[in-house]
């Protein structure tokens, strides 16, 4: 008898296992339907500054010493920040704090109707610099590392390009779009021939989160049903269900896109690709990513359907940093920061990259 045959379960065992799982699916399925939404964003934190809907948080250190340079996380405008702090053991923030980083985070909050006039200028030239100053004041350190996720990476990139003389120490971007010609479906859906961005913004003000959620779903129209089938199939596994629920909660919990910023992003980035061409100007200042000379890392996902690899890959060569590198991981837009591959590969790589540049 070979080793493989010895370890493989017999047909009878497999049938028994499936029957057992079938029973558990029924029992746990009822519990699933009755239980509340999972708690997320549980890492202990203090709000150290708020302004309008913006909140700046400081995560409580858990080590007896921390690296000198604090880390500021900049979230995307349209996603809730708890993707970086989903659940204990599934939280990038918890991981970074446990590895001795002093972590702060900008949570943009949900824009109110009166915030519909916010533009990229407000974020890049006002909110981020303001928060950087608050972090410097709170930490007592003159420089700050920034980690930006998705659109937060893009805002951080613009901030870094327009503040080349500091106080930025290091810049890490996750799945940050740069060449919008590579945006695939998103680019084709927003074709100026058909997509009337002015009508949307002028009528609605902020772009409602439902529109964003449906757009993301339309990129993978069958996935919703397939995920439901997978959930039923794995209902016996508490670990699978827990993970599914936090991801599902986050995916359906998007926030509105401030109207003017959406208009600007669509016209100047999506249509005219001005960031890539070096033609984007904010308050009369040209955003030239070549001016970024601080250590830079760009983490991308090979199968990202929201920010495809083609839209992100050229960024590392475009910045002026001598210390620039990219990390490409298998997986998608979300699993990049919170999936098993992120836990195994991305988090340790980011920790090491930051640690070596944080003294």
């Amino acid at each position: 008898m070979s080793a493989a045959e010895a370890t493989e379960p017999s047909l009878g065992d497999r049938v028994r296992q499936e029957v057992d799982r079938l029973l558990q699916r029924g029992v746990k399925g009822f519990a699933y339907l009755r239980s509340d939404a999972p708690d997320v964003g549980l890492s202990p934190k203090d709000s150290i500054y708020s302004r309008g809907t913006l909140s700046l948080y400081h995560y409580r250190p858990t080590t007896h010493d921390v690296y000198r340079v604090p880390v500021l996380l900049v979230m995307s405008l349209v996603s809730k920040p708890y993707i970086l702090d989903l659940a204990p053991g599934q939280s990038l923030i918890e991981f970074l704090v446990s590895r001795g980083h002093d972590v702060y985070m900008i949570d943009w909050g949900e824009p109110r109707p009166e915030d519909s006039g916010l533009r990229l200028e407000d974020y890049v030239l006002d909110f981020i610099p303001d928060c950087v100053e608050r972090v410097r004041a709170d930490s007592g350190e003159p420089d700050v590392s920034i980690v930006g996720y998705c659109m937060g990476g893009m805002l951080s990139l613009m901030y870094a390009a327009l503040h080349p003389n500091g106080p930025l120490a290091n810049l890490a971007c996750f799945t940050t779009p740069f060449n919008f010609d590579g945006m695939g479906l998103m680019k084709r859906w927003s074709d100026p021939k058909h997509f009337d961005v002015d009508r949307i913004v002028d009528t609605l003000g902020n772009v409602p989160p439902e529109l964003l959620v449906r757009s993301f779903e339309m990129m993978r129209p069958v996935s919703r049903i397939a995920q439901q089938i997978r959930l039923w199939d794995n209902m016996w596994s508490d670990e699978f269900v827990r993970s599914y629920r936090v991801f599902d909660r986050w995916a359906n919990d998007q926030i509105a896109f401030p109207g003017e910023c959406f208009r600007q992003t669509t016209k100047e980035l999506q249509w005219a690709n001005k960031l890539y061409k070096g033609e984007l100007t904010l308050a009369g200042r040209r955003v030239d990513v070549k001016r970024i000379e601080v250590p830079f890392v760009h983490v991308m996902a090979e199968h990202d359907h929201i920010v495809p690899y083609a839209a992100a890959r050229e960024l590392v060569d475009a910045v002026g940093s001598k210390d620039a590198q990219s990390i490409v991981l298998k997986g998608g837009h979300v699993s990049l920061v919170a999936g098993p591959n992120a836990v195994r590969r991305m988090w340790p790589a980011l920790d090491l990259w930051l640690a070596e540049r944080a003294t």
């Binding site: 000198r68 350190e141 074709d191 058909h194 009508r199 993978r220």
Partner: protein, 139 residues
């Protein structure tokens, strides 16, 4: 994978799971591709125009109703919200100015550790990167 399956013998449930993965991938590709065609885009544009116009008319009608019964309309609420934002910004500016005055000679360097709130844990900022620690240990 196929080898392993062959070794284990045919597992119909595993085959169904693999079929689901493959089917999902192919269907997503086909449907997403079709959704980006010119005719689909045109249709989506037409539908969104109709919905947005209906929304606008709806708000206008309700606005008139609220005006008639002397209640604030959506535009009034947004206007009040904008005024509140301006007040918030003014307060932030005042706060910043006060902070700058207070910092005085320390302006070159932001607030020191001693000045910041002490109710939160403040570990020493002396942690060394793994490479430096390894080098120290080697010595």
């Amino acid at each position: 994978m196929a080898e392993r399956t062959a070794q284990r013998g045919w597992d119909p449930l595993q085959a169904l799971r693999e079929l689901l993965d493959r089917g999902e991938r192919s269907l997503n590709e086909v449907l997403a591709e079709r959704s980006a065609g010119d005719r689909r885009n045109e249709l989506r544009s037409l539908l969104s125009r109709i919905m947005l116009d209906a929304q606008r008319i709806n708000w206008r009608i309700w606005g008139r109703v609220f005006e008639t019964v002397n209640l604030p309309t959506r535009t009034d609420v947004i206007r009040i919200g904008k005024t509140l934002v301006q007040i918030e910004q003014l307060l932030t500016q005042l706060e910043n100015a006060q902070r700058e005055r207070a910092s005085g000679a320390e302006r070159e360097r932001p607030t020191t550790q001693a000045q910041v709130a002490t109710d939160r844990p403040r570990p020493a900022r002396t942690r060394r990167p793994p490479s430096a620690r390894a080098a120290e240990e080697a010595r």
